[in-house]
Structure formats: structure tokens, C-alpha cells
């Protein structure tokens, strides 16, 4: 393919960049200002007031951020560990059993969270978990576990089981095999699964709404209330904070892939 003139290409890239990054730029601009009315193109007054919650532990954003972090951490830990064992067992299956198991594990991922919350609400309410942190945590784990299980099925599908056999033959008892061979090999996937479960919980809305019943406030929920109330500056700040973990993980994942490519090359 002949090299095309760089003019249009650069122009196209610019359009793409603006399209992809402009909303984020807007968020940043809004979060560092307090007055920005139509029809001005730049904020009227710059201010860091929106970020005060970082220092003083105010009601604004801070408590919902804390709740979101706690929920996502729990969901990440539980779903990654449980997903490992689940994925391993499923990966051991063959034929129709395996297809069925994978389809089952796919259900929590495929069913829309809203439908899931309506279906689950009754049982969780009956168990006394409605409107409580624990209840929302359990609710978040349901889809997160689906994602991590499928992730580990993929990992174990290409896992060389022979290393375990080899270790046994060399004199290691089952506990040693786990400790010295299997778990070290799984350390990286476990971290990745944790990130996956974390993100599933982090951005979750319907499950928190319906199971939390207004008593459990997470950052996405707070963001939505700001949008509905027209409080753009606070909404933008909340939005930026909400975007930080996934963005950070994307960067880390991108670097990891690049490093791998260098090693292979």
C-alpha cells in the first residue's frame, strides 16, 4: 500500500483524538472550576473546591467513594479466588458437559444487571441483606464471579497440567505441588482476575440501586444524582474519580503487553 500523504492522516488522527478525549477534557475542566455557564467556551472561575472532599472527608463524594472502593475490593478478592477454583473445575470437563458448564457460567455475565437485581431482590431481602453493605456486596459478586470464572476457564484451558504430574513424580506431595508450582504460576492471572472483579463492581449501577435500596451509596449512584440535579461540576469530579481505576488498569495492561512483546521479540 502506497504511503498516503500525511496531511489527511494527521487530520483524521486529530479528529479521532478529539472525539475520544474531548469528553474527558471537559470533565477535567469542569472539575477544576465552579462557574461555567452557557454560552462561554471556557470556565468562568477556576477553583479546586470540588476536590475538597479529598482532604476533609466531607459528605460529598468521599463517603460514596469509600463505599465503592470497599465493595469493589471485596468483590475483587472473593470473585478472583472463587473464580479460580470454579474455572479450574470447569476447565477439567470435556465435551457436552464442558459446553453446558461454560454456558451456565456465562449466565451471570449475559443477564442484564437490572433483570438480575429484580430477580435477586426478594431472596436478598428475605435474608435480611437488603439496604446493607453486605447485601450489595453479595449482589455485586454474582456477575463478578461469572466474569472471573470464564476468565479462569480460559487460563486453565491452556494450562499445562503436566507440571503438576511432573512435580509429583519428582517427589512433591500434593500440598507442595500447590505451594511451589500451581500457585506461583497462577499469581499473575489471579491479579488480573482481581482487577476484573473489581471493575465489574466498581461501575455497577442497577444492583446497587435495587439491593441497596437507597441506603448504600456508591460513586456511580452519586454521579447520577448530580447529573439529574444539574450539578455539573460535582458530577464531573465524581466522573473523573470513577474513571481513574479503570484507566490506570488499562495503562498497566498496555505496558504489560508491550513488555511481553519486547521479551518475545
Amino acid at each position: 500500500m502506497k504511503a498516503s500523504r500525511s496531511g489527511p492522516r494527521v487530520g483524521l488522527t486529530l479528529v479521532l483524538a478529539i472525539g475520544a478525549l474531548l469528553p474527558l477534557a471537559l470533565l477535567v475542566a469542569l472539575s477544576v472550576s465552579v462557574e461555567w455557564f452557557y454560552p462561554t467556551l471556557l470556565p468562568g472561575r477556576w477553583s479546586s473546591a470540588n476536590w475538597d472532599f479529598l482532604g476533609r472527608g466531607s459528605e460529598v463524594i468521599f463517603s460514596s467513594l469509600w463505599t465503592s472502593v470497599a465493595l469493589a475490593l471485596c468483590a475483587g478478592v472473593v470473585s478472583s479466588i472463587a473464580g479460580l477454583f470454579a474455572g479450574r473445575e470447569i476447565a477439567r470437563l470435556d465435551g457436552w458437559r464442558r459446553r453446558l458448564a461454560v454456558a451456565l457460567a456465562f449466565l451471570p455475565v449475559a443477564v442484564p444487571p437490572l433483570a438480575l437485581s429484580i430477580g435477586l431482590q426478594y431472596s436478598l431481602l428475605r435474608a435480611g441483606l437488603g439496604g446493607r453493605f453486605v447485601g450489595v456486596m453479595v449482589a455485586h459478586i454474582v456477575p463478578a464471579l461469572g466474569y472471573t470464572t470464564l476468565f479462569f476457564v480460559g487460563i486453565f484451558a491452556v494450562f499445562d497440567w503436566r507440571v503438576e504430574q511432573e512435580a509429583r513424580s519428582l517427589g512433591a506431595n500434593p500440598f507442595d505441588v500447590l505451594r511451589r508450582v500451581t500457585l506461583p504460576l497462577l499469581r499473575r492471572p489471579l491479579v488480573e482476575a482481581f482487577a476484573l472483579g473489581f471493575l465489574v463492581s466498581w461501575a455497577q449501577v442497577p444492583l446497587t440501586l435495587l439491593i441497596g435500596q437507597g441506603l448504600v451509596n456508591t460513586l456511580p449512584l452519586e454521579l447520577m444524582s448530580y447529573v439529574n440535579a444539574g450539578q455539573d461540576h460535582l458530577a464531573a469530579t465524581a466522573g473523573l474519580v470513577l474513571t481513574i481505576p479503570p484507566l490506570a488498569l488499562l495503562v498497566v495492561a498496555g505496558l504489560a503487553v508491550r513488555r511481553l512483546r519486547v521479551v518475545i521479540a
Binding site: 504430574q165 512435580a167 513424580s169 519428582l170 517427589g171 512433591a172 506431595n173 507442595d176 508450582v181 504460576l185
Partner: protein, 345 residues
Amino acid sequence: MRGVEVRLDGDLVLRSLTMQVGRGERFVVVGPSGAGKTTLLRAIAGFVTPDRGEISVAGRGATALPPEKRDAVYMHQTPVLFPHLTVFENVAFPLRVRRVPAGEVRERAGAALDAMLMGEFGNRIPRTLSGGQRHRVALARAIVARPALLLLDEPFSALDPALKRDIRVALLAAHAQYDPGSVVVTHDFGDAAGIADRIGVLIGGELVQVAPPAELFARPASLAIARFLSIANEICGLADGAGNFSSPLGNLPVANGVPAGAAVAVFSPAAVRIGQEGGTMARVLEVYIHPQYTTLKLKIAGETVEAACPLGSSFTIGGETTVVLDRASVAVFPLSMAERDNKTV
């Protein structure tokens, strides 16, 4: 092992197997694919439980022991090194799980690596090693704890000749270290002959013959074995039940056990002597030149026979020569109808 029987998915894979491997002995199990060779090895290793029979290693009953407690190391066809450990840590692994103190680990693992000529590679990771290097690391790791038995599953498969030689040398070096017994499984008789003290032929789950390589090749115990060994020539004829076998190539004395009736004489190309006085007339059909010898395809009295002759002899296609059969290298077996038509094992 004694009387070991293994059933997999309902099929009897190993039938009442009994065999012994001595200290320092290299015992090679050969057989066609699907004969049960890998199952045999894995039964010794402890990954397959026999339905009947006993196995003992180094004098200790092993039938009830889990793999890690048997004194036998099973090595997969492609070397399985631990990807998350360095070469040194791989070799040190058996010592570490036996809680050997660190100083001793360093010494013994280092010695094993040196014995396998991999002493310089201690800090490398498995991913960066070549095939031959991996085999050597795997062997070093296998011998570092001095197990009584080494079990190698098809170590020569799918390798080029240089690599095969590499592994053969490494295996002999391992034996030189402390005299373990080895059970090696392969489907290639040539590879087996290169390292074996004794060869066991496994066909259909049974050990049909156990003998040193030379004896096996010269006197296979049955037609099936002869066919497996790909002994090239088969001439059909008639046995009279009294010790004679008549064929287009002449009459041959046979072992007493051959009953009257259709029989087949089996012999390798090396058993055919070319250009001898008083031999039978033969016409040269084709000439094949190999690196170390030449093979001729000859037509003798209506039968096609392969004969080997040393490099340097020259023959023309269509020319004539005489041949004599070396009777000591010919085996005669009774032939059933089915066997005559089915040329493969």
C-alpha cells in the same frame, strides 16, 4: 512388576504383565502405537492404578504408594520444566521438596547440572532454552535426588538425528552418575537398539518377547514381532512338520516347533549374501543407495527380496547375480491365512 493388569475405559490395556529391571539396566519397551507402552510407564510412576498385580521399586512395594513416594521419576515426552523457576531451581526442586539443606542443595544441583553439561545455564529461564538443552535440564532434575528408576516416555520422538544423539549421550551420562535403572518407551526399534541392555516388545498389552537387541533382531519370537521390527523379507513356503521348509529360495532347516503347513521365512536384508558361488539366480530390479550401505531389490524365482551389500559394489538394473541365504539369520513361523493377507501388526 508382577501380574499387572490395567483397564482404561473398560479396555484391558495391560494384560498380566510381569517384568524386572535390574540396577543400572536400561530396559527399553518397544511396540506399536496404542500397545500400552505409556500406560505401563505411568503405572510404574503411580499415575495409573493397576486393577490387579503388584509393583515394587528398589525392593519396596509401591503398588499402594502415591507417585511422590515411589522412588521413580517419570519424564514426559516433551520436557516439562517449571516455567516460573530458573534452570537451577528446576534442578533443585526435588531436593527442596525433600527438605534438603541449602548448602547441600547448591552442591548436588550444581553437580547434576555439570554432569549434563548445563552448568553454565543455572540462571536461565526455561523459555530461553533450546530443545536439547531442555532435555538435559529435565534429566539433571530427574537424577539429582538419585531415584532408583528413571521412566522416559518416548524421549526420541519427533527429533532430528543430532538431537537424538544428544539425548542418548545425556541418558548414558545420567546412568554413569549413580547407576539407576531406566525404563524407556519408544516406538522406534532403531532408537531402542541404540541404548538398550534389554528390549521388551509390547504388543496388544502383552510383553511378547524380552531379549537383548541383537538376539531380538536375529530371532524374533513371532511373526507379529518380526513385522513390528520391520524385518524386510518374507518368503512364503511349506513346512513339512519334520524340520524342513521348502521355498522358492531353496530348502531350509527349521526349528522343530513349526507344524506342517503354510509357513513364512523372515529375514533381514543383511542375511542375503550376494555374489556367492553356487547360489540361486537373481535379477536386480532396483538399486537404492543409503549413506552407509546399498540395498538391492532382487527377483529370485518369482519372489521379490531385499538384500544389503556394502558401499562400493556396483550393480546394474536388469543384471544378474547369485545369492545365498545365511540360514542362521532366518526365522520361520507358521502362517495363518489372516496373517498372510495382513502385512501389518
